[in-house]
């Protein structure tokens, strides 16, 4: 492994222990969805930590949640019930999907944290929506301040700049991969992004700076590329999934994942006032199906396809994920009209099954070069 990647892997492998140690002096706040305004959480003096589901047993969760919700949310609750998130000071969640909302409610009933807060984000982008957006951010700030936060606009400005620098580096890596200037596997890219969800941002930025310096022109990827693809879905939590896909002969040249591009693009928002910058970035984000129409997503996905040279699309949503599954037929039809082959694989847990591999092989045989 590239030495510059090791800190990211370390954080992913050992974040529970690291968080426990951190929580002694820096309070941590959990969140599920990347629409959560982590910049405000950080500006208030907390470290925002994304809840990860990962692979593992499901035992306790059966007593509180049905089986027909996504693996990610079920495993997150399972881990919380196992006592793995006792170090959190609170949980802040932007309402993006019904299941995340419902599970946040179940957490609030069963996992004793100092506070819970859900942000009802606006769907529109008109002036009234922006004014409303500002008011719910103010509400969050007040809530955080009553739980030990010390928010200031100066701190938010610093936080926005910090996260902007992080996102610029991630986007730089991503763009260089898309344009073919950098051989950096999808597995490694995913590992780097995932590590960012569980690493304090200042530390993460340092690791990213080192990585960007070291991977200049490096070639750590197999050259046996036969089929460049765009991968679209919600979360992919196991980098081995993308490693498997690439080992089969695909090259993941672009993604539409909330563990990928959607989490770091755009890098910042316009506006002089820090809250405006945050609001504008959120409103202008690369669209997630939980909040946007397939018809608005499609041109952006096609732009990714064209810029990356993808010759096909692999849809990899979590099973039971309503936003992605509801958009799939519309996107599939649109890709058909463009003559772009695509494949839908629903992930029942965090990994690929033999059936998935067989379908990937068939897809490659039919459409690969």
């Amino acid at each position: 492994m590239n030495e510059a990647l090791r800190p990211f892997k370390d954080w992913l492998d050992y974040y529970p222990e690291k968080h426990l140690a951190l929580s002694g002096h820096s309070p941590l706040i959990g969140y599920f969805c990347t629409y959560t305004p982590i910049e405000i959480i950080y500006a208030a003096g907390f470290i925002p930590i994304r809840i990860l589901g990962e692979s593992g047993p499901m035992e306790k969760v059966h007593t509180l949640a049905p089986s027909f919700i996504c693996h990610y949310m079920r495993r997150g609750l399972e881990k919380a019930l196992e006592g793995k998130y006792t170090y959190l000071s609170g949980l802040v969640q932007a309402y993006t999907c019904d299941v995340a909302c419902g599970l946040t409610n179940i957490w609030a009933e069963n996992i004793p944290l100092a506070f819970y807060h859900t942000l009802p984000l606006p769907y529109n982008r008109n002036p009234e929506a922006r004014t409303y957006f500002r008011s719910i951010l103010q509400e969050l700030i007040e809530k955080m301040n009553t739980h030990g936060g010390r928010f200031s606009l100066e701190a938010l400005d610093h936080s926005l700049k910090l996260y902007q620098q992080i996102r610029e580096r991630l986007l730089d890596l991503y763009e260089r991969r898309v344009s073919g200037q950098l051989d950096f596997s999808a597995k490694n890219m995913l590992m780097v992004v995932l590590a960012g969800f569980v690493t304090p941002p200042e530390i993460y930025l340092e690791h990213l700076r080192a990585l960007v310096r070291q991977v200049q022109g490096r070639d750590d990827l197999t050259k046996t590329v036969s089929f460049p693809v765009l991968v679209s879905g919600s979360l992919i939590e196991d980098p081995l999934i993308l490693e498997t896909v690439e080992a089969m002969g695909f090259r993941v040249v672009a993604d539409d994942l909330c563990t990928g591009l959607r989490s770091f693009y755009p890098v910042t928002g316009q506006g002089g006032d820090p809250l405006d910058r945050l609001i504008n970035r959120t409103i202008d984000r690369f669209p997630c199906p939980a909040r946007h129409r397939a018809k608005d997503r499609f041109p952006m996905l096609m732009d990714l396809v064209r810029r990356s040279g993808a010759k096909g699309v692999i849809f990899l949503p979590q099973k039971f994920c309503t936003p992605h599954l509801a958009d799939y037929p519309l996107l599939a039809e649109a890709f058909n009209q463009e003559g772009l082959p695509h494949l839908l694989l629903e992930m029942e847990d965090s990994g690929l099954t033999e059936a998935h591999r067989t379908r990937l092989e068939a897809f490659l045989e039919i459409h690969g070069v």
Binding site: F68, D98, E109, P122, S135, A294, L325, A326, L330
Partner: protein, 415 residues
């Protein structure tokens, strides 16, 4: 699937409901010939009253789905939507309406049908399937003018002034859209009258529900179809008249102590949306001495529209309606369910684990625990789906229902 349970001892008013339903859909189909633009919209928000006040024809695709289930249209609709690539894991309302608009609606020939929309109130702020239904409808009906509506998804007990302010601004935006696109003027007196009628309907609804506290209960959850008027007719005299008729009949039954069954032994509570394809299942307990006397859903229609400002009243209703059944905190749900169980003297609860509705299903197990720990009320979980019969096993239901009733009777010393 076996023969569906036939309903007995129905309210006369509930039988009249069939005519009201038919009349409503006829009105929808004939609207354009009377120069009324047709708008498709989600239920449970203030757009309904606005449309009636502006003499527009509101159509509710979500409400159409239970009707399709009751009339047996769903298998064909599901076949069409699944053929288009819509996963069986998606909400049955979504799969049904998508199948309908891409299948039978185009072919015609059904006794009841929906007219094509002139405008769509496409929605961000309900549940995700409700939002996605309208995204798909936008594609299906490209000539329809789209209004992108928004509403804060906030739990009822967390509604603050800024949520209401935004909801009011969205309603004002909607008024501008409707008046401009349909060339109508909003008469504020007519809107006040419409809102007043809607409030009268809610008051009647509450009054009707209070009779269910009586023993024996004068009508059961199997009559929940009467809420059709609350979904489609709020703000009309027809809804008020119908509910007054229901109230009178229920009151008369209550005065005569006429129960749903001869010997009411066990009083039951139903949580979650009922199985629309077989509401008779709610009567399955009656042969065993049980009556489903209350359910989660009915509280959604209790929201009063008070105050001098009709737009603010509608905005408040919009905010509170949806969060009565979804995006509601477990704390609030627990309070509501436990209060209902106390008020209605409930012996046992049936928790419908509904594959078509994750928002309402999530939290059920916490409710189950609270029922047992705080009120010593036992409950049973029934796996099913409010739209898709394929996700429901009648045999499993019968076994669980019988065992549950035996346990409840034993607990009450009835056997």
């Amino acid at each position: 699937m076996g023969k569906k349970e036939s309903s007995q001892k129905r309210l006369q008013a509930a039988k009249d409901l069939n005519q009201l339903v038919f009349r409503y859909y006829q009105e929808c189909l004939e609207a354009k010939t009377h120069g009324k633009p047709v708008g498709w919209m989600p239920p449970m928000n203030g757009a309904i009253e606005l449309c009636y006040a502006l003499d527009l024809q509101p159509v509710f695709p979500e409400n159409w789905s239970p009707l399709c289930a009751a009339f047996g249209y769903t298998p064909e609709n599901f076949r069409v939507s699944e053929g288009l690539g819509y996963s069986r894991d998606l909400c049955g309302y979504l799969r049904n309406i998508v199948g309908y608009v891409y299948g039978p609606m185009a072919k015609g020939g059904l006794p009841l049908a929906l007219p094509e929309p002139d405008f769509l109130l496409s929605f961000g702020g309900g549940c995700v399937p409700a939002m996605k239904i309208f995204h798909i409808l936008e594609r299906r009906f490209p000539k329809a003018i789209v209004f992108s509506a928004d509403l804060p998804q906030v739990a009822a007990e967390h509604v603050e002034g800024h949520h209401l302010t935004y909801a009011v601004s969205e309603l004002n935006r909607l008024i501008d859209f409707l008046t401009q696109t349909t060339k109508r003027k909003l008469d504020m007196n007519r809107l006040k009258e419409t809102v007043s009628l809607s409030d009268q309907a809610s008051a009647l609804w509450d009054e009707i529900m209070t009779y269910r506290r009586l023993i024996p209960v004068p009508f059961s959850a199997a009559e929940i179809g009467i809420m059709f008027v609350m979904v489609t007719r709020q703000g009309t005299q027809e809804a008020v008249d119908f509910l007054a008729q229901v109230r009178d009949e229920v009151r008369e039954r209550a005065e005569k102590k006429t129960g749903v069954i001869e010997d009411e032994q066990i009083r039951l509570f139903w949580d979650n949306i009922p199985p629309w394809y077989n509401l008779g299942l709610l009567r399955a307990f009656e042969k065993m001495g049980g009556v489903v006397v209350a359910e989660t859903y009915s509280s959604a229609w209790s929201i009063r529209l008070t105050g001098d400002d009709p737009i603010e009243a509608l905005a408040r209703k919009s905010l509170l309606s949806y969060s009565q059944v979804s995006c509601v905190s477990i704390k609030k749900r627990r309070e509501d369910v436990l209060r209902a169980c106390r008020e209605y003297a409930i012996d046992g609860a049936i928790l419908h684990r509904n594959k078509s509705c994750a928002p309402i299903t999530l939290g059920q197990m916490d409710i189950q625990k609270a029922l047992q720990e705080e009120l010593a009320i036992p409950s049973v979980i029934i796996d099913g789906d409010h739209m898709d019969e394929r996700n429901f096993s009648e045999a499993q239901f019968q076994i669980r229902a019988e065992a549950f009733m035996e346990m409840l009777k034993h607990k009450k010393g009835l056997r």
